[in-house]
């Protein structure tokens, strides 16, 4: 028998068929939480905490495999705010990586390839996250960004396409140019125009 807790309160859940997975349990609970504009935001299984459990294979496992499941919920607003914070921080990390990568490319550094992958993968994730946050916010009628981020998608994807072309043709000058003079100003612009001032 698995003990299930939501926000430190024990939840009665009957796994009659012995086939309930973690994912299914979360789905059922979130259905109930939705009307309160809350979502599950953290998961602990037998004392082990999982950050990105929604994409982890652990979510496919049966709950009966565990003795104790602890779930924590949060309001949509809080989840969104945290998501926006992560996004903003990640954009700043990308900016730092752009500088490192440009220096590496122009001065012949050794770690250029790794930095480029980090930037390209990072920006792809950022676009996906911006889109999800923006769509989620719309659903709950929350103003997540100061403006619709989709206006930037094309420019970002165009930059990433040029980065790919530059890498394929081993044109490092073009690569550094795109990163320094196109992607970097774009990221700076996104940071400036998309996010609300936290002090206000």
């Amino acid at each position: 028998m698995t003990d299930i807790y939501l926000d430190d309160s024990k939840v009665e859940f009957e796994d009659t068929e012995h086939d309930t997975t973690v994912e299914k349990l979360v789905f059922v609970l979130e259905e109930q939480l939705r009307e309160h504009r809350r979502f599950i935001c953290a998961l602990s299984l037998d004392g082990d905490e999982f950050d990105s459990w929604r994409d982890d294979p652990v979510s496919k496992r049966l709950i009966l495999e565990f003795n104790e499941l602890k779930l924590t919920s949060a309001t949509v607003e809080r989840i969104v705010l945290e998501g926006v914070d992560v996004l903003e921080n990640y954009l700043r990390v990308v900016l730092e990586n752009i500088d490192k990568c440009v220096d590496g490319v122009r001065l012949g550094g050794a770690s250029v390839d790794v930095s480029v992958v980090v930037i390209v993968d990072g920006m792809t994730e950022i676009v996906k996250t911006m889109h999800e946050l923006f769509s989620g916010g719309k659903k709950f009628d929350i103003s997540i960004f100061r403006q619709d981020p989709s206006a930037y998608y094309k420019s970002i994807l165009d930059c990433l396409e040029t980065v790919k072309e530059a890498r394929d043709s081993t044109d490092n000058v073009l690569l550094a140019d795109v990163l320094e003079y196109e992607l970097k100003p774009l990221v700076e612009e996104i940071l400036k125009s998309l996010f609300f001032d936290k002090s206000s």
Partner: protein, 650 residues
């Protein structure tokens, strides 16, 4: 606006090109000529967002299309942090780097642009005439000239940093690899040359003076000038490949002039070939190179004027001397000995032999055993003094080791840094610094022959080792088939040539020697004075420490040094004799300055003391040799009978 910011301003293309070419003419005349005659396609120069030039080559940008100047500034700053004495730049690009280096006060630059179309386009659009006029800024389009420049201008003690912008490295990989190897090889040989110069200079002078006893009876090799016109000559080196084809030389005895490097003499005899000439320049006696039998008496020996006197004593058929232009003693006195020829010296006797063959009028000159590279586990042909050498090459770490265990019981070991040369089949072959120097010399010589339109053919019939650009590469069998047919009466030619020898001018020799001896006496006196000053300083320092008065005393030494150097500069031989000591001082100046003023003072005083003690010893050693040479020469002058004996029998 700074100069580099002005780049990309429109100007009259032909005017800019002409200005650039004029600036190049003095230091890169060949390139200047090529640029004037260039009729090929140009590269399209594009404008970056800030209006400056950039271009694309093979689909890649070579400069930023936004701000090329900012991009180049970062790169130049990154290089200058490393404080190199010289920067070797692979790729001119649009000239941003060259301008920035000079703007930032770094003026020792060797720039190599591998592509003529880039060079022509850029020099037509960007005015670099001011930069290219700088005394130590060089621009080349061929690796040979660039490597010459390194050998001629880069002091072996200077640090050299090679830089190549990314697009150049990516786009011109083959040229880059070739260039890097050659630059590395040239730099290494420059460093080695300093060492050889220092180690050998004094023994050379001593040998030269001792050889005064033999020179009167040893004609200069240029008595044979033009005497073998159109006849084939074979120059035999002691490379491992001689084992493969050396036996073929038996067939051509008496039909070609065979000249063997001293190291190849015994291996040749083993193959059944007695060469006509053996050429050597060893500064120490090497009896093991000879048979010490009647066979030696069938061979003419050609010796450098600085070779060991013991070699001049050997019993051979006859002996000849060749003079070197690198020795100031020789350049001053060769003519007095009746010599009108300085052999072009490439560091090896086979390089000198090529120059002599050309001077003799030989055509073709055929090389065998000139591998200039290690063989399969061997360094030399078998049958020679190096037979006991064992070679181990560690290609991964780029090192080689030679262990030897000679028949006479001598053993030893030496480690090398492996340098790579292009092999006969195009693949790299492992070599070492001295062979690389010879290789560079051969390629330069061939380049010169081509440029001067010289009709004599040079064939490399070596069947292993390095490819020598400019020579024809065929097998020895094929070379013999094509070029060796008629009999040559070598001894008759030699006899006739020697009988026409130019007489020795003993009077002029005597005058020259006395002047040099007086200079040495002056150096000795100055050295003694300096030494005494140093002793005073040392005593005072011990007593009172470093006082301002003591520092002033050092000025006295500086004044003595100045007058010594002023005097020696006027006499090239004396300056040359001081080479090792000036080098020692220079090396010390380059060392880190000690944090403590007292410590530094002590180091300076010790260096000065050591240097001038050695200078004094050098004069002590040389003066008796000068006296003896002067006596010999004077005896020839006052005894007309002896003088006549050294005169040719006409």
């Amino acid at each position: 606006m700074s100069d580099s910011e002005n780049m990309g301003q429109a100007g009259c293309a032909s005017g800019i090109l002409e200005r650039n070419i004029s600036a190049l003419e003095k230091k890169s005349a060949e390139l200047a000529g090529d640029l004037r005659e260039y009729e090929g396609a140009d590269v399209e120069l594009l404008r970056a967002r800030n209006g400056l030039y950039t271009f694309k080559y093979d689909g890649r940008f070579f400069h930023s299309s936004y701000d090329p100047l900012k991009e180049a500034t970062g790169q130049v700053d990154d290089i200058l942090v490393k404080k190199p004495d010289w920067v070797v730049l692979f790729g001119l690009g649009c000239g941003y780097h060259i301008k920035l280096f000079i703007e930032k006060g770094h003026e020792k630059l060797i720039v190599f642009e591998p592509k003529m179309d880039i060079l022509h386009s850029v020099l037509s659009a960007v005015d670099l005439s001011e930069e290219l006029s700088g005394g130590s800024v060089f621009l080349f389009n061929d690796t040979l000239s660039a490597t010459h420049c390194i050998r001629d201008y880069v002091d072996g003690m200077d640090s050299l940093l090679s830089y190549q912008p990314g697009p150049y490295r990516t786009t011109f990989q083959k040229e880059f690899s070739d260039f890097t190897n050659k630059v590395q090889n040239a730099y290494t040989t420059t460093q080695v040359a300093i060492k050889t110069n220092i180690d050998s200079r004094l023994p050379w002078i001593e040998n030269y003076l001792e050889n005064f006893n033999y020179f009167p009876e040893t004609p200069s090799i240029d008595v044979l000038r033009g005497r073998f016109k159109g006849k084939p000559m074979v120059v035999v080196g002691a490379g491992p490949s001689l084992n493969k084809n050396g036996h073929l030389l038996k067939e051509i005895k008496g039909k070609a002039v065979i000249i063997a490097a001293i190291t190849a003499y015994k291996p040749l005899l083993r193959l059944g070939v007695v060469p006509d000439f053996v050429i050597g320049g060893e500064r120490i006696d090497m009896p093991e190179y000879f048979t010490n039998s009647d066979t030696d008496k069938e061979v003419h020996l050609i010796l450098a004027e600085v070779a060991s006197p013991k070699l001049f004593e050997r019993k051979m058929k006859s002996k000849f001397t060749f003079f070197n232009a690198f020795s100031n003693l020789s350049t001053e006195q060769a003519q007095m000995w009746g010599c009108r020829y300085f052999a072009s010296i490439g560091g090896s006797v086979t390089t000198s032999a090529l120059d002599m063959g050309i001077m003799f009028g030989c055509d073709p000159v055929i090389f065998v055993g000139q591998d200039l590279a290690f063989g399969d586990g061997e360094t030399h042909v078998s049958g020679g003094v190096y037979e006991g050498q064992q070679l181990t090459i560690d290609s991964k770490n780029g090192t080689g080791r030679i262990d030897w265990d000679y028949a006479d019981g001598r053993t030893g070991r030496v480690d090398y840094t492996i340098l790579w040369l292009k092999g006969l089949n195009g693949s790299p072959v492992a070599s070492k610094f001295d062979w690389v120097t010879f290789h560079q010399w051969f390629e330069t010589y061939m380049h010169y022959m081509k440029k001067e339109d010289m009709s004599q053919k040079v064939i490399n019939a070596t069947e292993g080792g390095a490819y020598i650009d400019g020579m024809e590469h065929i097998s020895l069998e094929e070379a013999i088939k094509r070029h060796v047919h008629e009999d040559i009466y070598i001894d008759t030619v030699i006899e006739s040539a020697v009988s026409a020898r130019i007489p020795v001018d003993f009077k002029a020799l005597g005058k020259s020697l006395v002047q040099m001896r007086d200079g040495l006496v002056y150096i000795r006196k100055q050295a003694v004075k300096i030494f005494k000053e140093v002793e005073k300083i040392r005593a005072s320092f011990k007593l009172l420490g470093l006082t301002p008065e003591l520092v002033k005393n050092v000025k006295k030494i500086e004044a003595l040094e100045k007058s010594l150097f002023d005097m020696t500069r006027k006499t090239p031989f004396l300056w040359e004799a001081l080479t090792a000591y000036t080098h020692q001082l220079k090396e010390q100046l380059r060392e880190e300055v000690s944090e403590s003023q007292e410590e530094q003072f002590k180091v300076d005083v010790e260096t000065i003391e050591k240097t001038y003690t050695e200078v004094g010893e050098m004069t002590k050693k040389l003066l008796p040799l000068f006296d003896s040479a002067i006596n010999m020469v004077e005896s020839r002058v006052v005894e007309p009978k002896s003088l006549q004996q050294s005169e040719p029998v006409r």
